[in-house]
Subunit: 197 residues, 2 copies
DNA sequence: GACAAGCTTGACAGTGACTGACAGGTTCGG
DNA sequence: CCGAACCTGTCAGTCACTGTCAAGCTTGTC
């Protein structure tokens, strides 16, 4: 139980820092808020904040909780024969679990998209996820009996396009003042392309 | 003529810094090279280096010379009725003008892709380009007489997917030890998807 | 209940990217 | 040839981030 407790308190502290930081960011802006400000807000030293978050950007980007593990789990559970494009769309359902806290999610996304440093960090994170997704796709095709040829760009291209659509949908959704569901925006974005059979 | 000269010397100095920096980066690695090192190599003060490059990342990413202006020019010159996907493929011909210096280009890309800070900066830059491209596409559709509906995600989604394919192609090309032309890699990547009519 | 091991924390010092301000020197246009 | 515009080095400062160390608290063990 002890280990579990340590982990729980760790998460609790992390959450507390994250929440306090987000409040400050929303008030003064991301760039205008220093780590010292955040540390002061939660009554810790600057050093300790960095023990919970590797970088300042991660405090925000981590909030998006694009849990890589969840996405990969979903992908692995999809029927091996399913079209890749469909599987990818299902993977993004994980992202869509913002459902209950649309407003917060929109706030964060807006902040990410108009803070260059955050935007860069977010895109980089998506890129890392893509690599993991591609690996699973390759593995799954092999298991299904029709592996991709050695240097076939197909899995990479499809994945990159799907993630591109994800970002496009996020932009569209924000631009339309978050009217309609995000899931709908994503469906529309991904419907503009058809993978070649 | 004077203005022209100023600009030319400016570009010359910028190029000199960039070349010296790239040499150092290649020797010691990006992170292990400080701006002071670069400044010393070209016999300038650190401050002056920052007068030619806004950030350390830009020294490298700027080398990729993904000249936004060139891309937009190409796009604007395409026949208005041409399928968007085709136009985007043509836009990327600008990127392919690495032709004569494949080796250098590959070196830089490799460095970008395995240095997190550079990767993030590069992806962010691509994102900015996309916004400009989307604007041109919207404008062009309007001029051609069939404008996109107000919140149609199509142009954004297609552009994002095309850029996704671009990055995927770059990865594939590097992974295959730069066998074959980059143009070919891009063609293959973009052929995996068909825009819905 | 004492004790050793392990985790967490604050304090301090240091690096490196980046910025603002100022002063001296060079170039340019008239 | 003179003032304006430009470029440069120097200095000082901010801020993200890292290593180190000693002190305190937690936990598992006897």
């Amino acid at each position: 139980m002890s280990e579990n407790l340590r982990e729980r308190t760790r998460r609790a502290v992390q959450r507390e820092i994250g929440d306090a930081a987000l409040t400050l960011f929303a008030e003064r802006g991301y760039d205008a808020t220093t780590i010292d400000d955040i540390a002061a807000a939660v009554g810790m030293s600057q050093r300790s904040v960095f023990r919970y978050f590797a970088t300042k950007e991660e405090i925000v980007v981590g909030k998006l909780e694009l849990a890589v593990d969840d996405m990969l789990d979903v992908l692995r559970r999809r029927p091996p024969g399913e079209p890749v494009w469909t599987s990818l769309r299902r993977v993004f359902d994980v992202v869509d679990h913002y459902g209950d806290q649309q407003e917060l999610s929109a706030l964060i996304h807006r902040m990410v998209f108009d803070t260059p440093a955050l935007s860069a960090a977010y895109l980089h994170r998506l890129q890392l996820m893509q690599e993991a997704v591609v690996a699973v796709l390759v593995e799954r095709a092999a298991k299904a009996g029709n592996p991709y040829p050695a240097d076939d760009p197909t899995p990479r291209a499809l994945t990159a396009s799907a993630f591109g659509c994800l970002v496009a949908a996020q932009h569209s959704w924000l631009a339309s003042s978050t009217q309609g569901t995000f899931a709908n925006a994503l469906d529309r974005a991904m419907a503009t392309l058809i993978p070649r059979a």
